[in-house]
């Protein structure tokens, strides 16, 4: 066998082994990962809304849906494609459809550039509070993180519009 053929075969075998190992681990850990994510999501939702029995609702609703809280506020579940992958977020709406709070719960944006979105108390994130869906685009972009900020504008705007349309 020539070195070329051997190299090709070894590389193909390595690829297959690596992919199978990843697929096996993905399957084996799927349930655990999902319950970890659900727990983290409810924790964020509880700190955002101040309602502390949300986790009793079990599996969180899919992105693009919402739940109405007892006091008339709406908790919206969203996901939008960012720079490095999906950005999952929550939006809390007042009964008059103003944004009362916003929380990014999961993202893969570039460390040091796009990851400012996971700081809910930052000045930038607080700009979302008190505005309605139409004003979201007036929030300043962040230098160097155009895609990340654009994704959040689109995500929040689209999610609020969608949920308003469902009513």
């Amino acid at each position: 066998m020539s070195a070329r053929t051997r190299g090709f075969l070894v590389l193909m075998t390595t690829t297959l082994v690596v992919i199978s190992a990843l697929a096996a681990v993905f399957e084996a850990t799927r349930n655990r990962v999902e319950s970890n994510r659900a727990r983290a999501l409810w924790r964020h939702a509880q700190s955002l809304t101040g309602v502390d029995d949300l986790h009793q609702r079990g599996t969180p609703p899919a992105a693009g849906s919402a739940i109405r809280l007892d006091d008339g506020r709406g908790l919206l579940f969203g996901s939008v494609e960012g720079y490095g992958g999906p950005i999952d977020f929550l939006v809390l709406l007042t009964p008059s459809h103003a944004i009362a709070g916003m929380r990014v719960i999961r993202h893969q944006e570039t460390p040091g550039i796009g990851d400012f979105i996971d700081q809910p108390d930052s000045d930038w994130m607080r700009q979302f509070i008190g505005i309605d869906a139409e004003s979201v685009h007036q929030i300043d972009a962040k230098t160097g993180a155009t895609i990340t900020t654009d994704a959040l504008w689109r995500g929040v705007h689209g999610l609020v519009k969608k949920v308003e349309g469902l009513q």
Partner: protein, 155 residues
């Protein structure tokens, strides 16, 4: 060189982070707490030791030209594996450092030169110059088929 002096050299004289000042980005960004620092250290060790061991075992069947791709494949695979395991079994740690663990891939290519041969192969690959016209055109064709709704950014 005996085992003890190799170990000392690895920890002190040839420590990439300490002496060569390599791989500092994830190191400094993540070492904000002992748990995060140890988590990143464990993930790096898993990927580096795992990929080096497997490459060493494959050395005799792997022709020279296939070493770099095989090494990259193994490092990328093991890094993804480390992130997946972290997400399943250490979710808090995952939230804190997962973004940085993926930087291990680049670090391992630089730090993981297991032999002078491999290092010079890496350096030689850097000097190969641009890809051929033909290869670039093929890249464009593949990209135009795959790009879909990808945002225009730095492209």
């Amino acid at each position: 060189m005996n085992t003890a002096s190799i170990a000392v050299a690895g920890i002190v004289e040839r420590n990439p982070a300490w002496i060569q000042m390599l791989g500092l980005c994830p190191l400094l960004a993540v070492s904000s707490s002992v748990v995060n620092a140890l988590g990143l250290a464990a993930a790096s060790a898993l990927v580096l030791i795992g990929s080096n061991t497997i490459i060493a075992l494959m050395r005799n069947v792997l022709p020279h030209f296939a070493r770099l791709p095989a090494f990259m494949l193994l490092i990328a695979g093991l890094t993804t594996l480390a992130v997946m395991l972290m997400e399943a079994f250490a979710y808090e740690l995952y939230l804190g450092i997962a973004l940085f663990v993926q930087i291990i891939v680049t670090n391992c290519i630089i730090l993981g030169a297991t032999s002078p041969d491999q290092l010079s192969a890496n350096l030689a690959a850097l000097e190969e110059g641009p890809l051929s016209e033909n290869a670039l055109r093929t890249c464009d064709v593949i990209w135009s088929a795959l790009k879909g709704p990808a945002p225009k950014y730095n492209r």
